[in-house]
Amino acid sequence: MIDDGSIRAAVARAATGDEVAFARIVAAHHDDMARVAFVVCGDVELAQEAVQAAWPKAWAKLGSMRDADRLRPWLVSIAANEAKQLIRSRHRRWLRETPIEDDQPVTPRAGADPESRAAILDLANALAGLEPDDRTLIALRYAAGLTSDEIGRAIGMTGGGVRARLARLLTRLREELHDDEIA
């Protein structure tokens, strides 16, 4: 991770065509973009493809970036849009509904995250039931950690509108994921 001052300098240099500076931006933000794209499209390879397609657009438009503090929200929203476009163009669908019984033994996939495979499938199924625009909201908020105002700027909504829509999505996901207990 590079600090804010360094990233501002990298943005300024990259905007003038400095490829090395742009590579620093790639190194700092590629993973976040992949996470967001994956939550939107549900396919690792498609998510990587979305991010690969996002970088040339970022290169082309970096010069119009007036506030380096908004770089990260801007980049992850480009990745989210690319993922949505790829879904449309490929007519991809998500994992089919796969309810998991609480009392059934499940084991985490080797090399995967601490979340069990059942929990991951549950979330994948719940996300699959959402519209791409709603998955984008979830991705920008909970995979990228953007504020509602940042999301609003990225997708053309007010911060209040984003919060209202997220509140409805939270209710729905909590119910579908049986997350009644608040951690």
Partner: protein, 243 residues
């Protein structure tokens, strides 16, 4: 892990952030930032040119962009080839480079497959099938048609045909795995131990049997109703890092 922003909406957000964060972590792969930056520079120019010629949203434009990025980056990052078009990825350890188009398709004789996990879920069974490339650098589609077959060779559930959507490039000795999700088998009791048959584009198939390390029965997915068809579907095949 993602940090929840300060403008909290609901107490449930912290829990969902953890869940989404763990889920999204699957998408993170090693990258070569310099190669991606170079590809972006070239891709941006290509995109602008093709956009002027064909319109900014044309598939030709996208293809040109990805091809340009792939060609430039081929020296340092892996590439998925085939299927719906070049599919750049960013992990040289996982996907060796192929830009020639002459790499043969993987045939059954070049692969072994085994079932390394068989998990129960409500109305479903989820198997993990692991492929091993035995003796040939070859290409295998990321999505394959599976069938659940019993020990007597009866096909209990047969998957639908799959569309081309990316290809993995397997080197000799590398492994890749995929989840196979099955549901609602209402037919006659299977004979003998179940296996999974995976159909290859070479018009043959590879059969995955229980791994020696796998305990417990390989039972068919339970019947949830005869009016609903049984299903079997293989999820995306993914390389196993370090193999």
């Amino acid at each position: 892990m993602t940090k929840l922003p300060d403008d909290h909406i609901d107490p449930y957000e912290s829990r969902l952030t953890r869940r989404v964060g763990a889920f999204a972590e699957q998408a993170v792969r090693p990258i070569d930032a310099a190669a991606i930056a170079s590809a972006a520079r070239v891709g941006s120019r290509r995109q602008t040119l093709v956009g002027r010629l064909f319109g900014s949203n044309s598939s030709i434009g996208r293809l040109g962009l990805v091809v340009a990025a792939a060609v430039l980056a081929a020296g340092s990052i892996g590439i998925y080839v085939g299927g719906a078009g070049p599919r750049p990825t960013a992990s040289p350890a996982e996907v060796p480079i192929s830009t020639t188009g002459r790499t043969p398709d993987c045939a059954a004789k070049n692969l072994s497959a085994e079932i390394v996990a068989w998990e129960g879920a409500a109305g479903h069974r989820i198997a993990t099938v692991r492929f091993l490339d035995l003796d040939l650098e070859c290409l295998i589609p990321a999505y394959l048609k599976p069938a659940l077959v019993d020990g007597a060779g009866h096909a209990l559930i047969v998957g639908g045909n799959v569309h081309a959507a990316g290809t993995l490039h397997l080197s000799i000795g590398t492994k890749a795995d995929a989840l196979v999700d099955m549901s609602n088998y209402c037919g006659p009791a299977p004979v003998g131990e179940l296996i999974l048959r995976i159909y290859l584009p070479t018009n043959d198939s590879v059969e995955a049997r229980r791994s020696a390390n796998l305990d417990g029965p390989l039972d068919a997915p339970p019947c949830n109703g005869r009016t609903v068809p049984a299903t079997i579907e293989m999820q995306s095949l993914g390389p196993i890092p370090g193999t």
